[in-house]
């Protein structure tokens, strides 16, 4: 062993290659261990992730492209598309406004009970999907607290569109807030204070100073909420009542088709949601490094 093979390679990531011709240093695993670990990773992910992913498209195209496209020529499919877009279109902006308000109050001001408030905002993530739907049934259903009053005024929330929207709002509730709060806390409020002392009003300060600083994190939260809102199943299933052409969202439409053994159509609709999920992953990965950069800049300027 001469000096040139010694620690110079330690720091460089090249020395961590699976099959490197170079000598192994003391902080590396032997070649066979590396191959074993990489092999296990690829095998495990193939069995659990990649094969099921491929199966969605294979099943959708089992009877050819004509049968695939015929699956979308169905009024119930289009009403499910409309309802999913409607629920997403209401819940994502609603939670966006909430997320911005909450992060402004939490990150720019000091008050007692702040960590309790943050915990309460995260609460919907700890509630299982079915329970998330059930709480609205208990509140607005026929046997619920407000049920008799609502039915005497001819307002239907459960087994109708408003219930679906509410359940979707609940399951996507924390996404925007939990992206914005840590970033805005890290960024502090010096820039906003400068803007205000130079005569900007609250809205100008927010739109010209705060928003440009957090736009990527905000977009990230919106993308995650959109994906969840389009795909939510459990919570929406409890409040929907499965009325065909009326209260079925896309995932519920898939369930109906699947339970009718109409597998090609079920997987065809599933393939659309899968493509949406893949687009979500691409956007998410792209945004992650931008947010990382924002965080690093905020840490540097402190």
């Amino acid at each position: 062993m001469n000096a040139s093979t010694l620690p110079t390679t330690l720091e460089s990531p090249e020395s961590w290659q699976v099959a490197g011709p170079q000598l192994r240093t003391a902080t590396e695993e032997s070649t066979w261990v590396r191959w074993l670990l990489v092999g296990s990773t690829l095998t495990f992910l193939t069995l659990v992730l990649f094969v099921p992913l491929a199966a969605i498209f294979a099943e959708a195209l089992r009877k050819g492209w004509a049968a695939y496209f015929a699956s979308f020529n169905n009024p119930n499919f289009w009403s499910a598309v409309k309802l999913s877009f409607l629920a997403t279109g209401i819940s994502v902006p609603a939670n966006l406004i909430f997320g911005v308000a909450a992060s402004w109050a939490i990150a720019k001001f000091d008050f007692r009970g702040k960590s309790l408030l943050i915990t309460l905002i995260d609460l919907p993530f700890a509630v299982s999907p079915v329970v998330s739907g059930l709480i609205y049934v208990l509140l607005f259903g026929m046997t619920g607290w407000l049920g008799p009053w609502l039915s005497s005024h001819n307002i239907q929330i459960i087994f109708a569109v408003p219930g679906i929207v509410l359940a979707t709002i609940f399951v996507t509730f924390p996404f925007v807030a939990r992206e914005l709060i840590p970033l805005m806390q890290e960024q502090g409020s010096e820039e906003e204070q400068a803007a205000v002392s130079l005569g900007a009003n609250g809205w100008q300060t927010f739109f010209r100073v705060t928003l440009p600083n957090v736009k990527w994190a905000l977009l990230y939260g919106v993308i995650l909420s959109t994906a969840r809102a389009m795909g939510e199943f459990g919570a929406v299933s409890v409040v929907s009542g499965h009325i065909r052409g009326k209260t079925n969202t896309l995932p519920l439409h898939i369930e109906v088709l699947y339970n009718e053994y109409n597998f090609v159509a079920a997987f065809a609709v599933a393939s659309l949601l899968t493509l949406l999920a893949l687009v979500t992953l691409v956007l998410k990965t792209t945004l992650e490094w931008r947010i990382q950069r924002d965080l690093e800049e905020a840490a540097k300027s402190e």
Binding site: A26, L45, L53, F98, V130, V131, L166, V238, P251, K284
Partner: protein, 279 residues
């Protein structure tokens, strides 16, 4: 406190944003959750106990918690291997694989459910070879566990990755220079350092698994006493107009997940970092 006072004077909008936050939070989250607790409290102690401890309900707890524990353990082991491989080694396709780890987050649960069932049922790509070996996956507890492994994997990988990336190579070098072999370095230096992150990932994966519904119902077969998970049981209680019973079982599940959340927060306090992913 003087800094706090100054801030409050300079920046506008505290009253309106705080008021909006608390009102919206109360209307959407707190009041409906309170309704759940009130509804089950209306049962009285004896009826509540009867609702949450009937044999069919207990069988569903055993299945749900058992399968969730097994799935979280499998995820802890393989999630560690995956995270280690992604952080330390280079191999072709690594960036794509890294991005794909989040697929279970992005894919609607119903889609995951039918996809896993298609692959592992008796006519599926893998199921047709497993069945002759006497391994039935779909419509058994194995299938339920498989679905829970699928949806829980990103939690372990995403909590471990930053912890592994932050590991100081110096301590590994020190261990090696003091005569430790690679295995000893791993068990005595690396593992203790990343243990809080590993446990956090395990607990997050467990918490998600206990409440999971969409990906499980298609592969589970849903037979009472045998393959009926607690979430599904809540729905069937509801369909039989037993709302109080459904509420009571939900309270048990909520307490279980709040307990887990509390221990996760404690672990993160120990590990000094907040998990940034999304459930």
């Amino acid at each position: 406190m003087s800094k706090n006072f100054a801030k409050r004077q300079v920046l506008p909008g505290f009253g309106i944003t705080m008021g909006y936050t608390v009102t919206y939070l109360s209307l959407i989250v707190l009041v409906p959750l309170a309704a759940l607790f009130l509804k089950s409290a209306g049962l009285g102690v004896a009826d509540f106990w009867k609702a949450v401890s009937s044999p069919r309900v207990v069988a569903s707890y055993k299945l749900t918690f058992g399968a969730s524990l097994v799935a979280a353990t499998i995820n802890a082991i393989f999630g560690f291997v995956v995270a280690w491989t992604l952080v330390r080694y280079k191999f072709p396709g690594k960036r794509i694989i890294d991005a794909m780890i989040d697929l279970p987050f992005a894919l609607p649960t119903a889609v995951s459910g039918i996809a896993l069932t298609a692959v592992y049922s008796s006519h599926g790509w893998f199921g047709q070879y497993l069945e002759p070996l006497g391994i039935k996956v779909a419509y058994t507890p194995i299938g339920i566990t498989l679905a829970l492994v699928f949806i829980g994997l990103p939690f372990v990988v995403r909590t471990l990755q930053p912890a592994l990336a932050d590991l100081e190579r110096e301590s590994e070098e020190a261990a090696a220079s003091l005569g430790a072999n690679r295995f000893q370095t791993f068990t005595r230096v690396i593992l203790p350092t990343i243990l809080p992150a590993l446990l956090t990932g395990f607990a997050l994966s467990l918490a998600r698994a206990i409440g999971e519904y969409g990906s499980v119902v298609f592969i589970s077969g849903n037979m009472p006493m045998r393959t009926e998970i607690t979430s599904l049981l809540i729905i069937s209680k509801l369909e039989q107009y037993d709302t109080a019973g459904a509420a009571a079982i939900s309270v048990v599940m909520l307490i279980a997940s709040f307990g887990l959340l509390l221990s996760i927060n404690l672990l993160q306090h120990l590990a000094g970092r907040r998990y940034q992913g999304a459930l």
